[in-house]
């Protein structure tokens, strides 16, 4: 019955699971490298010095950052992307494989923009189509927020992100272009209305899921800007990847849950194709099958919720151990928030490893569609029709190699950042080191989970 429903928002992948030997090699390597890191950095600094990092000013970037062009260009691309999703989604082919809307949302926005933002910096800041539309309108007519946004933290943004994850992973609707377009329209209306009613930045920073998400991802990137009191950019620096996560950030359970959700949605995406999930799903079939399409949605959303709660409980339990061993009276929420950010590298590399074949192969299938994007028999660009996607970067050995290297690099970065963070939070070197053992164990567990998922045989839905 469900055989026709694609597993993901967009269902073309050519990955093979990594073999057992490689899995053991990578897992062993992760433990060994973690151990080396801990031994090497025993006796590092404590206090504010611990999280100081090198950075270099790039004067010519100040001019670029101050000019209106990056925002104008990014905004134009963002608005065109949004229009593509809506127009192609409503009027194009009903088959995800032949509809550009699906490519724009699930590959170019969801996989590519996230990965690039980790590599370069917060691209969503430039691309956000709703911010661009608002800015154009605000230029033409004076707008003033009607109400003040109550103290909501980033909870609304978290719900928006969760809803998006549900569209992709649990609804079974992500591969239906019309539904995707409808979701884009609804979310556009909500976001624009929110910005006009509560103020542009107030809404974006608290209620717009992608702004909050890319804000976190952008911290991993190598650029940082310093602003003066008036908000104008004073200086632009380059820094090593990852260290931006050590900078002061807003704290609160909402932020912690958001980071955990980043990890759990990605893990859930992988888990969906494992035999373990298939068995779980099969066991629950008597419960959800009578509910029809809603049952399918219900079973998966429940799975995603349970996984998120499990990740959160495990993280908080480990943090209790960290704080206990650190032996210092610290503000629990502030400390948990600060350590949560050190998990971001693991989420990012897992995203890159998981979406690798989407980005290098599936993304190319958009090119032949440019001739006839809406499937109406047009001949806009006949030259691209015969385009055959290149699989050069998708040989199994290359994919495995890229995945393992990425996961290990992310793991090393996370362990290192967490170590620096412990140095800053706890009073003595010995305490900081001791406090790091639970954190280290947790990170090894997360990394092993990612590797384990990548090593799972890909199974099929039986209908």
């Amino acid at each position: 019955m469900l055989a026709g429903i694609l597993l993901h928002g967009f269902g073309q992948r050519y990955d093979l699971p990594i073999g057992l030997a490689l899995y053991l090699f990578a897992a062993g390597g992760v433990v060994l490298i973690s151990f080396v890191l801990v031994v090497l950095f025993a006796g590092e600094q404590v206090g504010a010095k611990a999280i100081a990092y090198p950075r270099r000013a790039v004067p010519w970037l100040v001019g670029v950052a101050r000019s209106p062009w990056p925002l104008a260009t990014g905004g134009t691309i963002g608005v065109l992307g949004l229009l593509t999703v809506v127009i192609a989604g409503f009027f194009g082919s009903a088959n995800a494989f032949y509809n550009p809307a699906e490519y724009v949302v699930w590959i170019y926005f969801w996989a590519v923009t996230v990965i690039l933002s980790g590599l370069v910096g917060n691209l969503w800041y430039l691309l956000n189509p709703w911010a661009a539309i608002y800015d154009v309108v605000a230029r033409l007519v004076p707008v003033r927020p009607l109400w003040k946004l109550p103290e909501v933290g980033v909870w609304p943004a978290m719900f928006a992100y969760f809803a998006f994850a549900c569209l992709e992973l649990t609804s079974g609707m992500g591969s239906r272009p019309q539904i995707v377009a409808l979701a884009a329209v609804v979310y556009s209306v909500i976001t624009l209305a929110g910005m006009f009613m509560f103020g542009r930045n107030e809404w974006l920073e608290h209620c717009e899921g992608f702004t909050v998400l890319f804000g976190i991802i952008g911290r991993f990137g190598p650029f940082e800007a310093e602003r003066d009191e008036g908000g104008a950019i004073r200086a632009v620096y380059v820094r090593p990847w990852g260290v931006g996560l050590l900078r002061p950030a807003a704290t609160g359970w909402d932020r912690v849950v958001f980071v955990i959700l980043m990890l759990s949605t990605l893990a859930f995406d992988g888990i969906l194709s494992t035999p373990a999930w298939q068995d779980f799903n099969l066991a629950l079939e008597p419960v959800w099958l009578p509910l029809g399409a809603w049952g399918f949605f219900f079973a998966r959303t429940l799975g995603l919720l349970l996984l998120t709660v499990a990740f959160l409980l495990v993280f908080v339990a480990f943090m209790e151990a960290v704080i206990y061993l650190g032996q210092r009276k610290v503000d629990m929420v502030a400390t948990v928030s600060a350590f949560a950010l050190t998990l971001v590298p693991i989420a990012l590399v897992y995203n890159a490893a998981h979406n690798y074949s989407y980005v290098v192969v599936s993304s190319q299938y958009l090119i032949p569609l440019l001739n006839d994007p809406l499937g109406k028999g047009w001949h806009l660009w006949p030259a691209v029709v015969g385009f055959k996607p290149s699989f050069a970067l998708a040989q199994a050995s290359t994919v495995w190699y890229a995945q393992i290297v990425l996961i290990v690099l992310g793991h090393v970065t996370a362990v290192y950042l967490s170590h620096l963070r412990a140095g800053e939070r706890f009073r003595t070197v010995q305490r900081a080191l001791l406090s790091q053992y639970p954190m280290l164990l947790l990170m090894i567990m997360y990394t092993m989970t990612s590797l384990w998922i990548l090593a799972q045989p890909i199974t099929r839905e039986t209908g």
């Binding site: 055989a3 026709g4 269902g11 073309q12 992948r13 050519y14 990955d15 093979l16 073999g19 030997a21 490689l22 090699f25 990578a26 390597g29 060994l32 490298i33 080396v36 890191l37 090497l40 950095f41 088959n95 494989f97 074949s357 055959k388 699989f391 998708a394 040989q395 199994a396 050995s397 495995w400 190699y401 393992i404 290297v405 290990v408 690099l409 090393v412 890909i458 099929r460 839905e461």
Partner: protein, 118 residues
Amino acid sequence: MSRTRALIVAAVLIVFIAAGGVLIYATRSHGGQNVTIDLTVTGGTKMNPTDSTAHQDDKVTINVTSDTDGEVHLHGYDIPFEAKAGQTVSHTFTADKTGNFLIEWETTSTELGHLVVT
């Protein structure tokens, strides 16, 4: 991070990454055989066997027999089998790409099975 420590971490990482590369590229399978796969499609919804395997660089011949008219599509390699009820359609190709490739009943986008090339 002091310079020596940074160097040690870099050295450990390089050794690990190099060893991984050797392990992956040295143990990959070498094909080159002739492989024939017979697939039977029933009603445009079921295929027997659902999953077939080949090694990279094998010369693969797929014979599709269907009891209904329609297109059976091997994704990735992008090979269409224009099936006519009761007749067998064959295509031969070199399995130069590795991966888990979807075989679909194209008209209804129904998943029939997979060709796995290792």
